[in-house]
């Protein structure tokens, strides 16, 4: 049998994976730019994972649905504002900005609210009962299923037709590489949000409260930190950032919003969080950008179907070298 | 315990008159039902089981463990600075020093938690080098922890059997098929663990989960678990912390008994009454450097030590 197998492998091997180094070289810069724009979406979603993980040690599987709800929020704002699916209608720059901001606010509120409801309905009762950590995970999964299916029942299994407020247009162009308006907006806005979030958690009193609850909830209470409020705040903050990410996603991705559209993205975002060092906001940023870029390289090198494999291989490789992510956990561990 | 206490009475934890005799409390049900002679025989068995193949009188005074110029840096911080000392077979060595002097770090280096930046730790004249932690334990160094770390969900007995497993060789396949060695080792492990629980005086709560034990029992359980690995050296990190003076007396006699059973003990402790009461020799660290090394009396009178550590003579220090 071994012989049989080896023979067949030898015959088929060359077709298993095709390398295309040339394509990677040609598309290097456009891959990088595209990856950064896409990666900043990962980063924004990753922050939600990281924050909740940091405070509750919970992989909030339902965060991907929080994201999707935001995407629907943005989508329906567009619809409400009278935009039609299909080719882009050109509106002036001012209404465009106003509309985008509006959609962003709606998305952030929608995501924030759903995250908060999740916390109240699903996780809080468990905390009251001192449930083991794994149980939170299962509840999160249950919530994720439930929201997904509710969206499916509501909107059906086909993606909403994509609405695009603005068509990608090259703003800078050098050689074959172009940087589009959308990429710039997404990247800059995400970076801004990330910096604000990082400053909030790192510098402000409430932020310190979040970290204290993350590290030792009982002692945090002894210091006067309202644990429940901090947890709510964490969910709302993470949710709102996911909502912002959802808007950027809707702007950037040429496909409509779909009930399970957050699933893979959620897993990638969580991967990004782990990559950077979970519980670490800057790690989430770094991980997100890295993942976005490397995925794109992988796609050029091996072809689109290997994109996700590349993401996971990257994760494994990085964790082998740095077992707590690139920047390490910011939540220190007790010494032996 | 009765529900109503007619009189406030103070339970007096018994301090055994003979330090070598086992404690009067914490006995298992089986022992409680025994007659006097049976008990005597049983305690002989316990002593046997606690120190199975130890030739107590052999090689006392020989160097067992040696730190040679051990230096350990954390970034810019030198936690251990060329520390050298030796531990001799059969002694109780005290390791003292101000907070942050590097005592716990010393343990961590000896047990492989940290690798020294430079220098060597040698056990029986062999360098520990880059041995894995579990190998070091099997070579014969066992420890307790400054912040108690037990296997919370296991019973006290199981905690100790885990320690005893360090000496067992049943393979996974052997366990899967229940080969004779498995049975032998299981029996031996349980018996030894039970003997150890009796030895440290908590056999009455062998069946309790570790996390539900009172603090003092937990500390003693840690000691039993460490002893179960049949170490050559037992390292105790502040075992008396959180004990009241009476409980400390119990502990001191326990440490002496451990030594008398043929173990070598390395003890970190801030309570001078304990340190001066049980140790044969003391090493003093300050800022990662060794500043003194000698008998308790020498150390107590050493002006450097007094200045760095003892301060005003402690009223507890006898």
């Amino acid at each position: 049998m071994t012989y049989h197998l080896a023979l067949t492998l030898a015959q088929t091997e060359s077709h298993w994976i095709d390398f295309n180094v040339g394509l990677l070289r040609d598309e290097f810069w456009s891959n990088t730019i595209d990856g950064l724009a896409y990666g900043s979406i990962y980063a924004l979603v990753a922050i939600g994972y990281t924050l909740v993980y940091g405070v509750l040690r919970l992989i909030n599987f339902a965060h991907s649905e929080v994201f999707v709800v935001g995407a629907f929020g943005a989508y329906f704002t567009f619809v409400g504002l009278g935009y039609q699916p299909g080719p882009t209608s050109d509106s002036g720059i001012v209404p465009l900005i106003v509309n985008l901001l509006l959609a962003g606010i709606v998305a952030m509120v929608a995501s924030g609210v759903i995250a908060l409801i999740l916390e109240r309905v699903a996780y809080r009762p468990l905390r009251k009962r001192n449930a083991p950590r794994l149980v939170f995970l299962i509840t999160a999964i249950g919530a994720s299923f439930a929201i997904q299916q509710a969206l499916l029942i509501w909107r059906g299994g086909n993606p909403e037709p994509a609405i695009r407020l603005l068509r990608p247009q090259a703003v800078f162009e050098f050689g074959t590489t172009r940087i589009t308006n959308i990429q710039i907006i997404v990247f800059v806005a995400s970076l801004l949000l990330l910096v604000v979030a990082d400053a909030f958690v790192g510098r402000t009193r409430l932020g310190r409260g979040i970290r204290a609850v993350a590290q030792d909830p009982d002692t945090a209470a002894l210091m006067g930190v309202n644990k429940e409020r901090v947890i709510m705040l964490t969910f709302v903050l993470g949710g709102a950032l996911a909502g912002a990410a959802a808007l950027f996603y809707v702007m950037q991705i040429p496909q409509g919003v779909l009930y399970n559209g957050g699933f893979l993205l959620g897993i990638k975002a969580f991967t990004a969080a782990v990559l950077g060092g979970i519980g670490n906001l800057r790690g989430a940023l770094l991980g997100g950008l890295l993942l976005g870029v490397v995925e794109n390289y992988g796609q050029s090198l091996f072809g689109g179907e290997w994109r996700d494999v590349v993401a996971f291989v990257l994760l494994i490789v990085i964790l082998m070298v740095r077992p707590t992510g690139i920047l390490g956990e910011s939540l220190g561990k007790a010494r032996v | 315990m009765s529900d109503t206490r007619p009189e406030p009475e103070v339970d007096t934890p018994a301090v055994p008159p003979d330090p070598a005799a086992p404690p009067a409390e914490g006995l298992s049900a089986e022992v409680l039902q025994m007659s006097e002679e049976e008990r005597a025989a049983h305690f002989a068995d316990v002593a046997e089981a606690v120190a199975p193949d130890r030739e107590i009188a052999v090689g006392v005074g020989e160097t067992l463990l040696e730190l040679r110029d051990v230096t350990l840096r954390f970034g810019g911080l030198t936690a251990l600075d060329s520390v050298s000392f030796e531990l001799r077979r059969g002694e109780i060595l005290g390791l003292i020093g101000p907070n942050g002097a590097g005592k716990t770090t010393c343990f961590n280096v000896m047990t492989g938690v940290y690798r020294p930046t430079s220098g060597q730790v040698r056990l029986e004249d062999r360098p520990l080098g880059r041995l894995k932690r579990h190998r070091i334990t099997r070579y014969g160094i066992a420890r307790t922890f400054q912040n108690i770390r037990l296997f919370d969900e296991m019973t006290a007995l199981e905690n100790v059997v885990v320690g005893a497993d360090a000496r067992h060789r049943t393979s996974v396949v052997g366990a899967l098929c229940r080969l004779p060695r498995h049975w032998r080792e299981e029996r031996e492990g349980v018996e030894r663990a039970m003997a150890l629980l009796e030895f440290v005086g908590i056999a009455d709560r062998a069946a309790d989960r570790a996390k539900n034990l009172p603090y003092g029992y937990q500390r003693r359980l840690e000691i039993a678990r460490a002893l179960a690995t049949e170490p050559k050296i037992l390292c105790l990190d502040e075992p008396a912390a959180g004990f009241n003076p009476a409980e400390k007396d119990d502990l001191m006699s326990l440490i002496r008994r451990i030594r008398d059973d043929g173990y070598t003990v390395l003890l970190i402790e801030h309570d001078m009454r304990v340190v001066m009461g049980v140790t044969d020799r003391i090493v003093v660290l300050e800022f990662g450097k060794k500043i003194a090394d000698g008998t308790p009396a020498e150390v107590r009178d050493n002006p450097a030590v007094v200045a760095a550590y003892l301060g005003v003579p402690d009223d507890g220090a006898a």
């Binding site: 644990k227 | 959180g242 007396d249």
Partner: protein, 237 residues
Amino acid sequence: MALLEIAGMSVHYGRIEALRDVSLTVEEGEIVTLIGANGAGKTTTMRAVSGLIPLSRGSISFNGEDITRLRADLRVRRGICQSPEGRGVFPGMTVRENLDMGCYARKDRKGIDADFERVFELFPRLKERISQQGGTLSGGEQQMVAIGRALMARPRLLLLDEPSMGLAPQFIQQIFAIITEINQQGTTVLLVEQNAQQALSRAHRGYVLETGSVTRSSAANELLADPAVKEAYLGIA
């Protein structure tokens, strides 16, 4: 009216009754010491006062207000602060951030700066290590952080659970001196100590806790003189 008044308090851990019908009071301006063997329920008492575990029976009132069901963080705002057993240092925060957490409920910037200075004066080691992560400190250093942090809160009632645990002898002296000092400055202190000799000699009154119940309560010096207490808790057989 006593500052802290505990009446008929019982506490359960699951099915285990850790405290049974404990009553104790702490008057404004006092140092009260709680002594007892391992597992007697001292820590449980402290946690109950701080609101970390619910009572199954009884009540606690603070400054005349019933706080039995008040959330822990709100108790801090009323002026109750604790340095917990096991220190509770935030492992991922620096020494400075840890101390900062002590004044989470405080707003007076000037007073806070002064208190920082005071803590650093007390524990110069902490000043040296100001940006070291709490989790990498030695046991004693962590204890210093915990005490310093509780001081930073400037509470009305300070709860100290075994403050001397893990500290080197010279610091133990110092800790007790500080307790007396802040008490004289007006802070009321409820103290749990194994170092009963020291603790009682600094305290006004004391309680003895045994297997979850108060078995003795009287002036500190009386307890010190009590032969039974001496034998059981002071190690003077």
